[in-house]
Symmetry: C2
Subunit: 196 residues, 2 copies
């Protein structure tokens, strides 16, 4: 990678880490340049404003990461229902960079940036829509295969699954144990199996 590009990438990655643990609003440029050991001149050479960096983090860090962890696992799988459950289990319990206490990176940004920063909302909405569509397509395939009831409404189920995951991540921020994950996952399994 060209050196200038690696400086930029370094800023985005380190800034994401800080923002994920302590929110966008409370993360200052000074803190970012202190941990990246990049000067203010360099920072503002790469990003015109703090918000421009924020949008870049969503598009260049959060989006690709989410696509890999949330969407790719749903592509071309034999048993979608099982895969949806496996993916969410993996996200909650086996994805090392997602910590219960820090919530969901995208969820956190949605919570703190909407409704005032429309640019952020737009970028984040794309992310969520992508995930939702992937789940809907999964379910549609199951319906066509005849493995789940024809009366199943993929849009509704996708909305329901995503909401419950999103909420679980938020609630886990104040939980004192991961019991809430276990309870949630057990019930999610029951719910998904009932679609059959």
């Amino acid at each position: 990678m060209k050196k200038a590009l690696s400086t930029r990438q370094n800023i985005l990655e380190k800034a994401f880490d800080i923002i994920y643990t302590k929110s966008y609003q409370t993360t200052s440029i000074d803190e970012i340049i202190a941990t990246t050991k990049v000067t203010k001149g360099a920072f503002y050479y790469h990003f015109k404003t703090k918000d421009e960096m924020g949008i870049a983090i969503i598009n260049e860090i959060v989006k690709p990461t989410m696509e890999e962890a949330y969407i790719a696992p749903l592509r071309n799988v034999a048993n979608p229902i099982e895969q949806i459950y496996a993916m969410i289990t993996s996200l909650l319990l086996e994805t090392p960079y997602l910590k219960p206490a820090y919530g969901c990176p995208a969820g956190n940004l949605i919570q703190e940036m909407s409704p005032w920063h429309t640019e952020f909302s737009k970028a984040l909405n794309e992310l969520v829509l992508e995930w939702k569509t992937a789940i809907e397509n999964c379910l549609q395939k199951e319906i066509e295969n005849g493995t789940i009831a024809k009366t199943t409404n993929p849009k509704q189920v996708a909305q329901f699954v995503i909401s419950s995951y999103w909420g679980t991540r938020n609630l886990a921020k104040i939980a004192t144990s991961t019991n809430c994950y276990r309870d949630y996952l057990n019930e999610l399994k029951r719910y998904l199996n009932n679609l059959k």
Copy 2:
């Protein structure tokens, strides 16, 4: 009400309104005293610090409001399952002070204050636990009445319902319509009916 107490109450209510729409961290004391027309001296007479005011808002504004809207409707009802659905519908569609674009007051605070402000987390955790317990008790009664399957796990279902509501509120912040509410509610109804 004594005049001093009404000053205090006025600060809490106005501050809550601002914080609900634009977050705790970005709401400054100066903004609060400007909208309440209370001087800085008066503010700091009633609250030693900003965080002390934050905790007071949770305990004296958010908590009583939530108890009325989230918990009271579940007490001593004939058909708990229907009541859970009715309550969530009411919260999403008919509660005027809860706006889709601003999310859930408690949810917002959880997202932005945890995990760093342990005092906030503790106060908010009490709130969520109260709601969860109320739902669990509801379900337990249904099981005893024989109206839902004995294999139903109240703890799990309560966790699932709360998570999905929490997540829906968060997702609605970036949604462009209330269709996501409709989809969610339809699926919630299906899910709850399947418990029977």
